[in-house]
Symmetry: C2
Subunit: 343 residues, 2 copies
DNA sequence: CTGAAAGCGCTTACAG
DNA sequence: CTGAAAGCGCTTACAG
């Protein structure tokens, strides 16, 4: 197979120097318009493309971002959290819109992901996504910071202020979910999800939940909180524990849709009617939420906007511009599991 | 911020030449074991990483694959086909397992995606995924071929034998879906999905469907075939057309789960009971399939295996090894929309 | 407006 | 086993 054309080949064909070819292809006004167009035409005809390795090496930037999706090791290999998939879609689009390429990688939390991409000049910066145990990777973030890696992280605000975090307003989401349940006349609301600092996003949702309760002079009851990570089976288990406890409850606020769907399955199995006996609200609005039976009332995170902001913020960081952490507002999506009138 | 360490910095610290550093880091047996280890230790300590742009430029390969997901322009921007998302996950994993990086990009069919990645040396090869109108991009494949780009395409077998295609056995999927419906006593089966050569995958499913009918001496009825692309709304529309026609039918074979779910919504709206009045089978087994109401019987494609085979085949192609197109068998997943006994 | 030249950071024949 | 040197294909000061 014919080896690829280089700028020297183009120069030869155009009867100019290689430097002129390089300028013309970058559309430099330094080059005479006519020769510029002639060179561009020849390049197109010869199907010439600038060698990115060479130009990146020369300019010392890659015009590439890396997306690291950190999976909880407990997660079933085949089932990626649909929320991340949705974020992936929007990040891909936003990256392309900015003229950057996107390197995607799924990583176990345990592995040594912290450095490779930017250090090896494959990417100018990194976007981190992950629902893992926060404590497990806090020190990795410190390391990234120490290396001056450009990165932005999805999720709750970080206590180290140097870490740029972008996320949805989990506290507000917890508030509006709980307010909605209260407005439906529910008083004994169980919370399914980790509420410790190991999962700052879930914790913020829980804190918002508690705040909404207090607004109505209801004292949050720790007996009604059950740990769960964001999987269907974990939600199933947590709901079973709740049922086994024999404590009174008329609603469940699940820290994620996956948890809610697992809880739904547990309730159904025990003959509990949703929403008549127990109302449920989830979190994320993943695609399956609207197809659950009953359809799942949930807190929607605007992934479209989130992807755009993540990419924009990271690019600003790379360019040395001013950036601040940001919280994106969430929306309540009312469906049949809590609030929508029955068909 | 301190600029990144280079192999020269390491060489200086280790008191050897830069060439020796390069060799040591690639673990070349040419270098004395002791010095090799000393150099590696220093590199680690200084957090040195080989500059990929430089090494790729030098070796003329990128150790990166590109994944191009071509979206149908009619598709809603926010809703990526969940089946692709699932493929994306498995391809990412398979790529990482082979020590390659993955560049991901979503493209409109209309845009000029054909060449850029490999031509610019950003990727060694391309994986193409897409449910668009086949005719629209057939000529782009020709162009890729003409440029000697290494690529593998997901889907139906291509009539140009030089195109390496990997896909699930759509014909077999159509056969087993239809056999299952027939075994349930259904006789008048509508097919929702394009059956022309514009969508070779759907066409193969349709042909399998027809073959299964013929096995039972049933003549396929073109009146029962309705075009649809793989979206929920297209399925909704197609089912409505079917209902409006007033033709007798007791089952629907939808060319994709998304179509099936749209059809389910249309039937529900018209008061048709699924599965009692009409049974439905979809295709893909996307996550929502099991949460549909009733849960959706469907043909499962093994995306895990598919991703592995796609990546392996592409790598073989790149290395100049023998590769052949491949069809992966599909499985019937029986749920309540057709075949599973009611709870 | 154009060209000759340096240099980005590696890998790898070549010589010893 | 090790080093000096060439060269991958660009971009961009520098000189004209």
């Amino acid at each position: 197979m014919a080896s690829k054309a280089t700028s020297i080949d183009i120069a030869y064909r155009a009867g100019v120097s290689q430097s002129t070819v390089s300028r013309a292809l970058r559309n430099s006004p330094l080059v005479n318009l006519e020769t510029r167009q002639r060179i561009q035409a020849i390049a197109k005809e010869m199907n010439y493309k600038v060698d990115k390795n060479a130009s990146n090496l020369r300019t010392q930037n890659s015009h590439t971002l890396a997306l690291l999706i950190c999976e909880d090791p407990t997660n079933d290999d085949s089932m990626i959290n649909p929320f991340f998939l949705s974020m992936l879609g929007s990040i891909t689009r936003a990256t392309a819109q900015q003229g950057y390429d996107l390197l995607v990688s799924f990583q176990q939390l345990s592995s040594d992901w912290h450095a490779d991409y930017e250090d090896s000049n494959k990417a100018d910066g990194i976007i981190l996504l992950g629902y893992g145990d926060y404590m497990d990777y806090a020190h990795k973030l410190e390391k990234l910071l120490a290396q001056n890696t450009h990165f932005v992280i999805w999720g709750a605000e970080h206590n180290n202020k140097s870490v740029l975090s972008i996320g949805c307003d989990n506290h507000q989401g917890g508030v509006i979910a709980t307010q909605h349940m209260l407005a439906q006349g529910r008083k004994h609301i169980a919370f399914l999800g980790d509420s410790s600092s190991h999962s700052p996003e879930f914790r913020d949702r829980y804190l918002g939940h508690c705040e909404a309760l207090k607004e109505q002079q209801i004292k949050p009851n720790k007996q009604l909180q059950f740990d769960a990570i964001s999987t269907e089976s974990s939600g199933f288990d947590a709901a079973n524990k709740l049922l086994d406890k024999g404590i009174e409850f008329d609603a469940i606020f699940a820290a994620s849709d996956l948890i809610a769907i697992g809880a739904l399955r547990a309730l159904k199995k025990r003959g509990v009617d949703v929403p008549n006996d127990v109302a449920i609200i989830g979190y994320d609005d993943i695609p399956v939420a609207s197809f659950a039976n009953p359809s799942l009332t949930t807190i929607k995170q605007n992934t479209q906007l989130a992807g755009e902001i993540l990419v924009e913020s990271l690019l600003k960081l790379i360019r040395g511009q001013e950036v601040a952490p940001m919280l994106i507002p969430t929306n309540l999506v009312i469906r049949h599991s809590c609030g929508a009138s029955a068909d």
